[in-house]
């Protein structure tokens, strides 16, 4: 079974801090994704990567960056956290862009 592991289930940070969210998958998948999920807005794509060191902007990339130095690891970075980035963050991976995605259990991030 594919396992996608996110480093923290809950995280509390202060405004202006630089925040790192880590995601690791164990199935050698090419594609990895970062979403945020907010009530009434559903899952929105922040960034995705289809190969090591490659990244593509999703629908809401502002205020975020990503890093993919190794195939199994995809990091989301909040450069200077703001309260409107309080959300549930979900990482996913898939073999190709259109194949089923496998999700981690999310990080609930609160910015105070």
């Amino acid at each position: 079974d594919v396992k996608v592991t996110q480093s923290s289930r809950y995280l509390v940070k202060r405004t202006g801090e630089k925040v790192f969210l880590e995601c690791v998958q164990d199935m050698d998948h090419e594609n990895m994704f970062w979403y945020r999920q907010d009530p009434g807005l559903g899952l929105r794509l922040i960034y995705f990567s289809y190969d090591v060191k490659m990244k593509e902007k999703g629908d809401i990339p502002e205020g975020y960056s990503v890093s993919r130095e190794k195939k199994e690891r995809f990091s989301l970075i909040l450069e200077s956290a703001s309260t409107n980035q309080t959300s549930m963050y979900l990482c996913a991976s898939s073999e190709t862009g259109s194949e089923p995605q496998h999700f981690g259990d999310g990080t609930r991030l609160s910015i105070l």
Partner: protein, 112 residues
């Protein structure tokens, strides 16, 4: 504009009945449509994928239909059980694209 619409109101049904969830889309030409289940505090879990040239797909008690003329997918759970209570998300991929776009989900509540 592009839209994926799922009924935002919860669907309440009695155990043993068939649950039918709807996903409508506008201004997409999906090559694939997928359904996911999400439990509170967890990441989505993939259930079924249906391609544009398929009318229907089944897996155990689950059935998905895909009507590209009506721009609609229906998701059925037969002989529903309280354990089927969850939020169900539809997601689609436009032809030639590498990413999924998700609906906001419909919450299903199955009463004993």
């Amino acid at each position: 504009s592009q839209k994926i619409e799922q009924n935002s109101e919860a669907l309440n049904i009695q155990e043993g009945k068939t649950a039918t969830l709807t996903c409508n889309y506008t201004n997409y030409s999906p090559a694939y449509l997928q359904w996911y289940r999400q439990d509170p505090g967890r990441g989505p879990v993939f259930l079924l994928l249906i391609r544009e040239n398929e009318k229907e797909k089944r897996k155990e008690r689950l059935k998905v239909t895909f009507d590209t003329t009506l721009k609609q997918s229906l998701f059925h759970i037969t002989a529903s059980q309280p354990a089927d209570s969850a939020t169900y998300l539809c997601a689609l991929t436009n032809t030639g694209f590498q990413k999924l776009v998700f609906g906001t989900g419909t919450r299903l509540l199955v009463s004993p």
